[in-house]
């Protein structure tokens, strides 16, 4: 099927089930023309369809990044959470500013946690060498703030996951020290368990 007819099938889907199937088909087409439609689906409040759309966007990769950034929905936090998750998984550093802003300041915890995790995984080699260190430091500062101050356990948890990933690529010793400090103040049992897992992984 042409991408045009696949897009049409998504637009005309008349039941949630049909929609999910149509979105998987469109995702599978891996056509760049599908990108705006896949992004639209993130706002349909249908988790099954959104998962399918995210998978398609992630597989398309870097080419979807500028459009995801352009179309990021400022009003629908559900849609924004899915888009941030897609950007996080594509991990192109062009999303750095959006992800730091989202991790630190978005009012929706699903957005903050997706961004915090994604910040740790960015593909630094896509940046010019002279820009890498500054960007990594910015990520470190953001994640430290989030891990210390966010009021939601799951966002602090996600920041720990982000810091652990970042430490695999850069700033390792500094992150290790920070996480050990953090363990003394973290009250949530699950977040504390995640810290312990990070220590085990680092050994």
């Amino acid at each position: 099927m042409t991408s045009e007819s696949l897009i049409e099938a998504v637009e005309k889907a008349s039941s949630p089930d049909e929609l999910v199937k149509a979105v998987w088909a469109l995702s599978g087409s891996q056509s760049e023309d599908a990108i705006p439609t896949l992004i639209q689906v993130l706002g349909f409040n249908n988790p099954g369809a959104a998962i399918a759309a995210v998978e398609g966007l992630v597989k398309l990769g870097d080419v979807a990044v500028p459009i995801l950034i352009r179309d990021l929905d400022g009003y629908d936090y559900g849609a924004r959470a899915w888009a941030i998750r897609a950007l996080s998984r594509i991990a192109h550093p062009d999303a750095l500013d959006i992800l730091t802003e989202a991790a630190a300041h978005d009012f929706a915890l699903s957005v903050r946690r997706g961004a915090a995790k994604g910040l740790g995984d960015l593909r630094w080699e896509k940046l010019p060498p002279e820009a890498q260190e500054g960007a990594q430091k910015k990520v470190l500062e953001t994640l430290k703030q989030v891990a210390k101050k966010d009021e939601e356990w799951i966002v602090r948890y996600a920041a720990i996951v982000g810091l652990e990933s970042l430490a695999k690529q850069a700033l390792t010793e500094e992150i290790k020290t920070f996480l050990q400090e953090l363990e003394k103040q973290e009250k949530d049992l699950t977040a504390r368990s995640r810290l312990r897992l990070a220590f085990t992984n680092q050994e």
Partner: protein, 262 residues
């Protein structure tokens, strides 16, 4: 305008002129877990309120007061909450059962058990209402959390109650009370329900247990990641039982699943 604080909330709850201020204040005290004795007294008073009545005879203020008292977790509220298990308002009975579960006081066991009288036979829909004659789900869940092994035989038949959420509540409680795998598996089965609200319900029920085998099924359920994360957190913390100990392989597996859902 001064900021809304505990003092304001207590004052609002203690006055009787403006019912809507009382209603909000009761909710607020629970939400922000204001545990001082003036708040307790005001809430206990509100739990006996006769003034705030809804058109169908309900007691909106009592509902909020019961919910708040559950969040405060003070056993001082147990006798009044037990009394309200017999309130004419279904939603007060439901909120009271949930509050008694949260407080975790075993004095609530036999009064809760009394609401199961007549068994599944009696557990019919309330004519003209969107609920059953008693808040069975809340009652059965509370009995499970309170460790009421004495209730096992009475809960068992509810596995076959026509309302699926009640079946799940029974499976959850029976798992908590017996640790038998078949009850955990019944909940995992529930994750495959066609309707999203039912899958959500099964998720929350699993999160109340330590049935660790449910981990990957939870992660794969078509439902919001937020709920799946809460369910996995519940499993993990019930597994750790609030002890600091080295992480077991099962705990690591749960954490890894959580990572994938961020």
């Amino acid at each position: 305008m001064t900021a809304y604080n505990a003092e304001t909330a207590i004052a609002h709850l203690n006055q009787t002129e403006d019912l809507s201020l009382r209603y909000y204040a009761a909710w607020w005290l629970g939400k922000f877990r204001i545990t001082d004795s003036a708040a307790m007294t005001a809430l206990l008073n509100a739990l006996e309120d006769e003034a705030d009545r809804s058109p169908d005879g309900g007691y909106p203020l009592r509902r909020n007061a019961a919910r708040a008292l559950g969040k405060l977790g003070n056993p001082q509220a147990v006798p009044s909450l037990i009394e309200n298990l017999n309130c004419s308002d279904y939603y007060v009975r439901e909120a009271s059962a949930q509050a008694l579960e949260e407080i975790g006081d075993s004095r609530a066991i036999s009064p809760l058990l009394a609401l199961l009288e007549g068994g599944v036979e009696a557990a019919k829909p309330m004519p003209g209402k969107p609920h059953l004659v008693q808040p069975y789900e809340a009652v059965i869940e509370a009995l499970g959390s309170l460790g009421a092994t004495i209730a096992i035989a009475q809960i068992q038949p509810f596995l076959d109650h026509p309302v699926e959420k009640v079946q799940f509540a029974a499976a959850r409680a029976l798992y908590q009370l017996t640790k038998e795998e078949k009850y955990g598996m019944r909940l995992v089965e529930g994750l495959k329900a066609e309707k999203l609200p039912l899958r959500r319900s099964a998720l929350m029920d699993l999160g109340a247990t330590d049935y660790l085998d449910a981990g990957s099924a939870i992660a794969q359920t078509p439902a919001e990641n937020s709920l799946k994360l809460i369910a996995l957190k519940g499993l993990l913390e019930n597994h750790l039982q609030h002890q600091d100990q080295p992480l077991s392989p099962e705990a690591v597996q749960l954490l890894t699943l959580m990572d994938s859902l961020l």
